[in-house]
C-alpha cells in the first residue's frame, strides 16, 4: 500500500483556493463598489489608527494594515468579507510583544513583524490541514463571551488616552483602576478628559439617531472641542497628545528581522501566535458562516481561510501587523450593497489616497478623540440584548460568563482556551453518548448500537453488554459512526469470556474498516471471533450455532 499525503483531487482543490479567483470580475458593478469602498475607507481610517495604538505601534502601521492586509485578503478571497486591522488581534499582539520591548520601540516593531509572520504561517498550516471548518465548533455563547470580553478590554484600554495618564498600559482593568486611584489625581490631564468625555457622550447620545455616522460626528465634536481649548491654552501647556504628522510612504516595504536571537524570540512567541492565529481565523470563519446563513452568496470557508492566512503572512513585508475579518466593516459593506471583493479593493485604494492627500491634517487629531472613538466602538461590541437572551439558557450563560470573566481577569489568551474548552463540552458529551436498542433474536439478543464506539464510550458499552449476560448476543455496528481499536479489543475480550461460559458473540460489522480492526485484533490475540458483514448473516450464524450446541447443557 502506498501512502500519498494528498490525492490529486485534493491537490487541485488546494491549488484553486490558493490562486486568486477572478470570477467576480464578471459580476462586478465598478461604480457602486467604488462608492462602497470609499465609505469603507472613511470608516476604517480611525479604526486603523486606534488599533495600531492598541497594538502599541505608530499610527501609520494601522493605515498600512488597512491598505495591504485588506488588499491581499480581498485578492485571495472571493467574497464580500472585509479583512484588515482587527481589535482582538491587535490587542493580543500588544499583550504579547510588550514582554520583549517597550511600546513602539524598534525591537518592539521587529517583534510585531515576527509575530505577524508566525500568525500567517500557523494559519497557512491550519488551512493545509483543512482546519477552517473546525471553527464552527466555537459555540455562539463562547463567541459572545469573547466579543464582550474584547469590548470590555477596549473600554479600559482607552483610559490612557482619555486621562492622559502614562503607564496605564498594564494588562488588567483592576490594575488600571488601582493606578488611577493612587496616582491619578495629579496626573490626570483635565483638558484631555474634557475632550474625551465630550466625544464619548456625543457618540453614545447619537447612536440611535445616526447609526451609521455617529462616530464621525462624535469625532468632529471632539476635534472642535480640542481646537477651542487650544485657542486659549497652547498645546505645550495642555500637553494634550496629538496624533502628529504621519510619515506615510506608499510602498512601506519591510522585512521581518532574521538571526539567532530573533529566532529565539519567535520560538517564545509560538503559543501566543497560535492563539492569535486561531482567534483571527475564528472571526473570519464566523463571519463567513454568517454570510452563508444569509441568502445570496456562498462563501468557500477554506478559500477565505487561505486568504486570511496569506494576507497575514505577507503583512510583515509591508510594515503591517496581522489582521482578520472585521465584523462591523463586513456588515456595513454588505448592508450598502457590495457583492464582490472589488469593494474591499477599492477601500484599500481609498485609504491610500486619503492618507496621501489628507495625511498632513491627521496631525491635529487629538489622542483623547481617538480614544473616545475607540471607547464607542468598544461599547458597541457589548450587546446587552444578546446577553439577556442567552441568560435564559443556563448552560449557555455559564459558558458566556466563564469566558468573559476569564478574559477580564486573566487576559484574552486564557479566555480563548476556556472558550474553546467550554464550546467543546457539548460535543464531547454528544460524541460519547452511546445508545443501544435491544432486539430479541430467538433465545439471544441483538444489541443495535447508536453513536460512537471508542475509548470514551466503552464504559457505557460494558453496561449494555452486562445487561445481556447469559445469552448469545449479536453486536450490530450498523449505526456506529466511529469505531476504534480499543473497542475492538474490548469486544474480543468479551467474546473470550462468553465463549468460556458457552455463549456465542457475533459481530456484524458495517464498514470494511470496522471489520479490519476487529480481524486484526482477533489475529493479535489468536482468538476466533465471528465477524460477519450483515445482520442477516449474524442471525443465521447464531441460529446454526444454537442448533449444534447440546440442548441439555
Amino acid at each position: 500500500m502506498t501512502f500519498r499525503l494528498l490525492t490529486s483531487v485534493q491537490q487541485n482543490a488546494l491549488f484553486r483556493e490558493a490562486c486568486p479567483n477572478l470570477s467576480w470580475l464578471r459580476r462586478m458593478r465598478p461604480r457602486q463598489e467604488a462608492f462602497i469602498g470609499f465609505v469603507g475607507a472613511v470608516l476604517v481610517i480611525p479604526q486603523a489608527v486606534s488599533f495600531a495604538y492598541l497594538a502599541g505601534l505608530p499610527p501609520e502601521y494601522g493605515l498600512y494594515c488597512a491598505i495591504y492586509v485588506t488588499l491581499f485578503a480581498c485578492l485571495f478571497g472571493n467574497s464580500t468579507i472585509v479583512g484588515g486591522p482587527n481589535t482582538a488581534v491587535a490587542m493580543l499582539i500588544g499583550e504579547e510583544v510588550i514582554r520583549f520591548a517597550g511600546r513602539g520601540s524598534p525591537l518592539y516593531i521587529d517583534g510585531v513583524l515576527i509575530l505577524s509572520l508566525l500568525v500567517g504561517l500557523i494559519q497557512l498550516m491550519i488551512w493545509l490541514l483543512r482546519g477552517g471548518r473546525y471553527f464552527q465548533y466555537f459555540s455562539p455563547a463562547a463567541v459572545l463571551g469573547i466579543t464582550t470580553g474584547v469590548g470590555f478590554q477596549i473600554l479600559f484600554s482607552t483610559l490612557e488616552g482619555i486621562t492622559g495618564v502614562d503607564g496605564l498600559n498594564v494588562p488588567f482593568f483592576f490594575q488600571k483602576i488601582a493606578i488611577l486611584m493612587m496616582s491619578g489625581e495629579d496626573l490626570i490631564n483635565p483638558y484631555a478628559v474634557t475632550v474625551g468625555v465630550l466625544t464619548i457622550v456625543t457618540g453614545v447620545g447619537l447612536r440611535r439617531l445616526l447609526p451609521r455616522t455617529h462616530i464621525l460626528v462624535a469625532a468632529a465634536v471632539g476635534i472642535l472641542a480640542a481646537s477651542s481649548i487650544h485657542a486659549f491654552q497652547p498645546q505645550v501647556i495642555t500637553e494634550m497628545e496629538m496624533l502628529g504628522r504621519l510619515p506615510f510612504s506608499l510602498f512601506p516595504f519591510s522585512t521581518p528581522p532574521w538571526g539567532n536571537d530573533y529566532f529565539h524570540m519567535a520560538l517564545e512567541m509560538i503559543p501566543a501566535a497560535t492563539a492569535i492565529a486561531v482567534i483571527g481565523l475564528a472571526q473570519t470563519m464566523v463571519i463567513a458562516k454568517g454570510i452563508n446563513l444569509d441568502h445570496g452568496e456562498r462563501v468557500n470557508l477554506d478559500k477565505e481561510a487561505f486568504a486570511q492566512a496569506a494576507s497575514n503572512f505577507l503583512a510583515p513585508f509591508f510594515s503591517s501587523f496581522a489582521g482578520s475579518g472585521s465584523f462591523n466593516r463586513t456588515a456595513l459593506n454588505r448592508q450598502i450593497g457590495a457583492n464582490t471583493p472589488l469593494s474591499g479593493i477599492f477601500s484599500s485604494g481609498f485609504v491610500l489616497l486619503l492618507s496621501v492627500v489628507c495625511g498632513a491634517y491627521f496631525a491635529y487629531l487629538p489622542m483623547p478623540v481617538m480614544a473616545g472613538m475607540l471607547f464607542i466602538v468598544g461599547l458597541a461590541t457589548i450587546k446587552p440584548m444578546e446577553i439577556r437572551r442567552l441568560a435564559q439558557v443556563r448552560q449557555e450563560f455559564a459558558t458566556f460568563a466563564a469566558t468573559f470573566v476569564t478574559i477580564a481577569f486573566m487576559g484574552l489568551n486564557t479566555g480563548l482556551v476556556v472558550a474553546l474548552l467550554l464550546s467543546l463540552i457539548p460535543f464531547i458529551l454528544g460524541a460519547t453518548r452511546l445508545e443501544c436498542k435491544r432486539v430479541r433474536v430467538g433465545p439471544g439478543m441483538a444489541l443495535e448500537l447508536h453513536g460512537n464506539l471508542f475509548f470514551a464510550s466503552l464504559d457505557q458499552f460494558s453496561t449494555y453488554l452486562s445487561q445481556a449476560e447469559g445469552m448469545p448476543v449479536i453486536i450490530d455496528l450498523r449505526h456506529v459512526a466511529y469505531f476504534d481499536n480499543s473497542a475492538a479489543e474490548l469486544i474480543l475480550r468479551e467474546e473470550h469470556r462468553r465463549r468460556q461460559q458457552g455463549f456465542l458473540l457475533v459481530v456484524s460489522a458495517h464498514t470494511s474498516e470496522q471489520e479490519a480492526l476487529l480481524l486484526s485484533a482477533n489475529a493479535g490475540q489468536a482468538g476466533d471471533l465471528a465477524v460477519v458483514s450483515s445482520l442477516q448473516e449474524a442471525k443465521v450464524l447464531l441460529k446454526t450455532a444454537l442448533a449444534t450446541t447440546d440442548p441439555d447443557r
Binding site: 518592539y108 492622559g164 486659549f232 505645550v236 498632513a360 496631525a363 491635529y364
Partner: protein, 278 residues
C-alpha cells in the same frame, strides 16, 4: 572704561583657553560605539533604543515626523549628533532629573527633549512616553556613560560670549551675515543644499533656546561658519545673533494660538522642500 575693557579681554582669553583645553579631552569616542551597534546581529531593548535614538537625532525630519514641524534635525544644533563640546552636547543625563519649581514636578531629560520638539523643531509636544522621546533618552543615557551625576559635563551647552560692552547690533549683524553666512544658509536664511534654514517657516520658533541672543551668539561663535569656526569676533557673533533674532520665524506656541494654526496651514500648503543631505 579701560579697566572694563581689560577685564573683558582677560575673561575672554580665559574662556577661550579653557575651551580649547577642555574640548578635545571631553570625548570618549562613543559615537563610533553607537555606529558599531548597527552592525550587531541583535540588539536588546535598550541598545536598539540607543541606536534608534541616534538615528532620530540625525534624521529627525524623517523618523520623528509625527512631532516635527520644520525642516531641522536635532543634529543641526546638537552638532556631531550631540557629541561636540560647545555645540549643545547631549551627554547630559547626569544633570537630570532636576527640580523645577515652575510646575512643581521633578523633570527628567524627557521634558527637555519634548521642549526641543515643541520649540526648536516647531512641532507638537510629544507625550512623555512617546517611543521617540524614550529612544532619544536612551541615546542620551548611552552618551553620558562615565559622567558624574549632578556635575555639568565639560563643554555643556554653548560657550558664553563675554559682554563686549556694546549692544548687539542687528544692522551690523546683517552685514556679517551677508559676508560670512549667506553662502551656505542662503540670502533669505532659508537654507541650502548644505545648510539648514536659519529663519522663516522652516526654522526654529520664537520659543526656542536658539532664539535667545546669548545662546545663539555662543553657538555661532564656537561653531560657525562651518570649516572656519571661531573666526568671528565676539561682537560679530553677538551682532549676527541679534540679526537672526529679528528675522521672521514661527511664533512662540505659548503666545500665539490662532497664529500657530495659520502658520501650520501655510506650511502644509507650501511645497515641501528637499531635505538637506546630511
Amino acid at each position: 572704561m579701560k579697566v572694563k575693557l581689560a577685564r573683558h579681554l582677560i575673561l575672554s582669553i580665559m574662556f577661550s583657553v579653557a575651551f580649547w583645553i577642555l574640548a578635545p579631552a571631553a570625548w570618549p569616542g562613543s559615537l563610533e560605539e553607537v555606529e558599531s551597534l548597527a552592525k550587531r546581529p541583535f540588539l536588546d531593548d535598550y541598545l536598539s533604543n540607543v541606536l534608534f535614538g541616534y538615528r532620530l537625532v540625525t534624521d529627525t525630519t524623517k523618523l520623528a515626523a509625527r512631532y516635527v514641524g520644520n525642516r531641522l534635525r536635532c543634529s543641526n544644533c546638537h552638532l556631531d549628533a550631540g557629541t561636540r563640546a560647545g555645540a549643545l552636547p547631549l551627554h547630559v543625563a547626569g544633570m537630570y532629573p532636576k527640580w523645577r519649581d515652575k510646575n512643581g514636578r521633578s523633570n527628567g531629560v524627557g521634558l527637555r527633549i519634548r521642549e526641543c520638539f515643541a520649540y526648536s523643531m516647531d512641532g507638537l509636544m510629544p507625550p512623555e512616553n512617546a517611543p521617540e522621546v524614550l529612544a532619544i533618552s536612551a541615546y542620551i543615557n548611552f552618551l553620558s556613560k562615565g559622567q558624574v551625576i549632578g556635575e555639568a559635563p565639560p563643554g555643556r551647552g554653548v560657550p558664553i560670549v563675554p559682554d563686549t560692552g556694546f549692544e548687539p547690533n542687528p544692522a551690523n549683524g546683517g552685514e556679517v551675515y551677508r559676508e560670512r553666512c549667506s553662502v551656505c544658509h542662503g540670502d533669505h536664511g532659508d537654507g541650502s543644499s548644505n545648510a539648514p534654514p536659519l529663519w522663516g517657516l522652516n526654522s526654529y520658533n520664537k520659543g526656542a533656546g536658539m532664539h535667545r541672543i546669548p545662546t545663539s551668539a555662543g553657538f555661532i561663535w564656537a561653531n560657525m561658519p562651518v570649516g572656519n569656526e571661531k573666526s568671528l569676533s565676539h561682537q560679530q557673533a553677538l551682532d549676527v545673533a541679534a540679526f537672526l533674532h529679528v528675522q521672521l520665524r514661527p511664533s512662540d506656541p505659548r503666545e500665539s494660538r490662532l497664529g500657530k494654526l495659520f502658520e501650520k496651514l501655510m506650511r502644509s500648503f507650501s511645497p515641501q522642500q528637499e531635505q538637506i543631505p546630511q
